[in-house]
Symmetry: C2
Subunit: 108 residues, 2 copies
DNA sequence: CGGAATCCTAAGCGATACTG
DNA sequence: CAGTATCGCTTAGGATTCCG
């Protein structure tokens, strides 16, 4: 069914893109974890308590589709996969840190 | 139905609070609209194309419960209700503007 | 005007078991 | 290790109607 990717639609679309990237329950946690450098799948699973395999996979795929992370596969045994933020992804750092600070400040 | 409000739970909770506030489909649009000052219900409805009554009401209630907006009722005929950002709400401006810029920059 | 009530569908999310 | 495949539940969200 259709490309799933948002077409050029100007201002009103920016919010959509933002939500698609950070609106998921685990999105920000994952991005946050990747700010400190590339991580393997299992590392992310450990770093993010409460997440399950399915959601991690799903979010990672979504992020890759949105161009904010890169997936690198190494043909080792056992297999190794590393996830890294793209430039686009890194540029979220300032915003997310600000949001995070806001959240911390106001969590009663 | 429990209190719906998140209890003090430290760092991991900040992200939850953030998502509860800006994670809804229309949340940021509403907050955005309120950055330019207090608005009436019907104004918000006009300013945000595509939203419907139910969702606007729902989001506004949620935001009020989260302490980011204030609801003021005037006993006029016909009734008047005005919504304003609280300080907590206003402090989101920087973050959201940053996010918005990010979105605009990367909408293909 | 500013909602509340109702109904309904699509999407999000969680748990677990299985596989190359 | 890094996923896929199923299943089922719970929300979010949309359309519409009614009310003080």
């Amino acid at each position: 069914m259709s490309d799933k990717k948002v077409e050029k639609c100007g201002e009103r679309c920016a919010l959509q893109e933002i939500l698609d990237v950070i609106g998921g329950k685990w999105s920000m946690s994952i991005i946050y974890a990747l700010f400190s450098g590339k991580k393997r799948f299992s590392e992310l699973e450990r770093l993010i308590p409460g997440i399950n395999t399915r959601m991690l996979v799903k979010e990672l795929k979504n992020m890759e589709a949105n161009g904010i992370i890169t997936r690198e596969v190494f043909a080792t045994v056992p297999p190794t996969v590393e996830y890294t933020l793209t430039t686009k992804g890194e540029k979220l750092e300032a915003s997310i840190n600000e949001l995070y600070k806001w959240g911390m400040e106001y969590v009663a």
